[in-house]
């Protein structure tokens, strides 16, 4: 026994202590509890992994039978294998750094203890998600992180946009969870168990059946909700209303990658359904392209990085969709490094400018906040795939796998990589080069913020040398295909071209972008407004749902049927004036009439069912 349960328990204790006593504790104590708990958990992860080294076999610890019903028996089981190990390192490692950063970032905010309590609760659920040895525990973590994300997005609850964003995230995620829970039920009905170690070995017997495809597609719905893929990506950009450390931790490094992790975890299921894998890959690719184009046009620095996150998640789905699971996980890890830097760096910039997020009000900050600048520069190089940075290795792995699967995917992804390089450096140049356009007096962030960013920036540069595919090869065999240097060169060239173009447009000829935007006209408006997807959802789903329930259920039913038949249009008109003349008219006899009508239906149904006999 390695006492795996301690890993999530430390943050849970942190949450309880800060949640219950945090109000009365001094700030230092809150800090100590919050960070201490996560660090302890990180240390325990290290201890566990070294204890289990080299983790050739999954290590499962069964604590107690959670519940049994019929043939279903679910244990409170935690498991560690090589995949989990990567995730654990990312979650607790990056998580610890971001916790440290938060001390500085949140120092002036109200509800300090609450923030850390939520953050610890999030860590708890994320670790449950990663460690859970069955679909249900994974789901518990899955729902839990969604809940914490909702709480943290809405943290600045005085801002209405923040609450709205929190709501949106929660509701969109419910759609995803709906898919996930259906998939879970289907898994149980098909395999008679929810344990990974029981379900996954059985899959081979069901290869290529409709059920497997359905399960995989439903899981993908869940993954799309959590990992912000088409069509459920709309919540992530809005989620940037939350505090920046939250964006970095939850909406870049950890939670949003849960979908990728889940697909990788359920890899045998997906292997058994090529159709579902194709869907995953195509959805990922589409998301990558679309989000990248939107990213080009945004001015809010956090929004740019948010769309970039959506786009990079798309990449990861391409990877798992084409069967390169280890490449997907690798990119997940490197992305956690460089995207955390980008967000935390953006946070430093915003912090330095006392809350300004519009890049048009920035510029020339290179000299004023140099540490932040170099950190963001390194991360940008990584995301652009500059040779030998972290992003270069993982991205090329994905691109090669895509080429192996279907060359057109490679080309689309490569062009997207170019766009990525372009918009990230666009943000970099707009923020740090040229002349300062704002009014505030920028100041460098304290060490407690710059140190974690610096560490992560170094990881963005050199993290690619942690060869994840090699490490995961016992689980996901390596392709064995030779690295095609031409393809690598092409993608690097695209990345460099993107950087160059950004330099040309935003440093050398800053008036150019405006001209281009004008000349593109409608197309630019379309992209700038994020393809009007939010508006479409609002018109197509939200409004009909609300007004439909109003019209049909209330106005239609009672007034229309009962009073309406007798009193005709008059009553209906009056009731329309009364806005909500519902089915509930408050009238006893109207209710009795409904009872009688119901009785008629019931009796006819039963009579017909009873037949002549």
């Amino acid at each position: 026994m390695q006492q795996l349960w301690l890993i999530p328990t430390f943050p849970l204790l942190g949450f309880l202590i800060n949640g219950i006593f945090g109000r009365r504790l001094p700030k230092q104590a809150v800090n100590a509890v919050a960070i201490g708990s996560v660090l302890l958990s990180f240390v325990w992860v290290l201890k566990t992994l070294s204890g289990l080294w080299p983790i050739d076999q999954p290590h499962i610890e069964r604590y107690f039978t959670w519940f049994e019903s019929g043939e279903l028996s679910i244990g409170f089981d935690l498991a560690v294998d090589r995949l989990t190990a990567v995730m654990l390192m990312v979650v607790t490692g990056v998580g610890s750094l971001i916790h440290v950063y938060s001390i500085g970032y949140m120092s002036h905010e109200g509800g300090y203890y609450r923030f850390f309590a939520y953050l610890n609760l999030f860590m708890f659920f994320m670790l449950i998600l990663v460690l859970g040895a069955n679909f249900l525990l994974l789901f518990v973590g899955w729902e839990g992180v969604g809940l914490c994300s909702f709480l943290l997005i809405g943290f600045y609850f005085v801002k209405k946009s923040a609450t709205d964003a929190g709501n949106k995230a929660f509701i969109v995620n419910r759609i995803g969870d709906f898919g996930f829970s259906l998939a879970m039920f289907l898994v149980f009905v098909t395999f008679g168990s929810l344990d990974f170690d029981k379900v996954l070995p059985q899959v081979a017997g069901y290869a290529d059946t409709g059920t497997i495809t359905l399960i995989c597609l439903l899981l993908m719905v869940g993954a799309a909700g959590k990992s912000a893929q088409i069509p459920l990506y709309v919540w992530l950009p809005d989620a940037m209303e939350g505090p920046t450390p939250v964006s970095a931790l939850i909406h870049a490094a950890t939670m949003v990658t849960a979908g990728v992790y889940m697909v990788a975890r359920a890899a045998p299921l997906y292997q058994a359904s090529p159709a579902a894998m194709e869907v995953v890959a195509v959805v990922g690719l589409l998301t990558a392209v679309m989000a990248a184009t939107i990213g080009i046009t945004q001015y809010d620095i956090k929004k740019v990085f948010a769309y970039s996150t959506v786009s990079q998640l798309g990449y990861m789905f391409v990877a798992v969709g084409v069967g390169a699971y280890s490449a997907g996980i690798w990119h997940l890890m490197t992305h956690a490094f460089f995207k955390a830097v980008l967000f935390l760096g953006a946070g430093s910039v915003i912090h330095a400018l006392s809350g300004e997020q519009d890049m048009r009000q920035m510029g020339g900050l290179r000299k004023k906040i140099p540490i932040t600048f170099y950190s963001i520069l390194f991360a940008s190089l990584a995301i652009a795939g500059f040779p030998f940075t972290a992003g270069y290795f993982s991205k090329d792995e994905i691109l090669l796998a895509a080429h192996h699967h279907a060359p057109w995917m490679y080309w689309v992804a490569t062009i997207t990589a170019g766009m990525t390089a372009f918009y990230v450096f666009r943000a970099l140049f707009m923020t740090f080069f040229g002349k300062y356009r704002g009014k505030e007096h920028p100041h460098e962030s304290p060490l407690v913020m710059t140190a974690p960013v610096g560490i992560l920036a170094l990881l963005s540069l050199f993290g690619g040398f942690l060869n994840v595919p090699q490490w995961l090869s016992p689980m996901f065999p390596l392709d064995g295909g030779a690295h095609d240097l031409t393809l690598v060169a092409i993608s690097v060239a695209f990345g460099l071209a993107g950087i160059g173009l950004a330099y040309y447009m935003y440093v050398l000829r800053p008036e150019l972008p405006g001209q281009i935007a004008t000349s593109l006209g409608g197309l630019y408006t379309l992209v700038y407004n994020k393809y009007f997807v939010d508006e479409m959802y609002d018109a197509a789903v939200v409004k009909p749902l609300i007004s439909g329930s109003r019209q049909v259920l209330w106005k239609g039913a009672d007034v229309g049927l009962i009073d309406g038949i007798v009193n005709g249009v008059g009553t209906v008109a009056r009731s329309v004036g009364g806005v909500l003349k519902l089915l509930q008219s408050g009238n006893i006899r109207s209710y009795a009439t409904w009872v009688v009508m119901g009785s008629i239906i019931v009796l006819v149904a039963m009579g017909v069912a009873g037949g002549g006999k």
């Binding site: 408050g586 006893i588 006899r589 009688v596």
Partner: protein, 102 residues
């Protein structure tokens, strides 16, 4: 059976039951509505007794007996509730008792 078949009684009680239902739906006066419920209960009682007679048992009689007890209890409580409504609103029109809605 003495000349009158069981089904006649059953049809009679069905008619009586429907009249009770009709009274509940038609009338506006709460007391009359309540009286309609008594009609429905009597229809049920008649069904019980008819079956009981047909089965040559007295179990149905017992059930009817309990239904009567319940009817008496309901009448006491129901009329008391009706009185409080009257005290508070000065009306026993069922259509006026509709402030709780939507």
């Amino acid at each position: 059976m003495n000349g009158v078949p069981l089904s006649w009684y059953l049809v009679l009680s069905a008619i009586l039951f429907s009249l009770g239902v009709a009274g509940f739906l038609f009338r506006r006066n709460i007391i009359t509505i309540f009286m309609s419920i008594e009609l429905m209960l009597n229809a049920v009682n008649l069904t019980f007794i008819a079956f009981s007679y047909d089965l040559r048992q007295v179990n149905g009689h017992i059930f009817t007996f309990f239904v009567m007890v319940v009817a008496a209890a309901e009448a006491a409580v129901g009329l008391a509730i009706i009185l409080t409504v009257y005290k508070n609103r000065g009306t026993l029109n069922a259509d006026d008792v509709n402030s709780l809605r939507f």
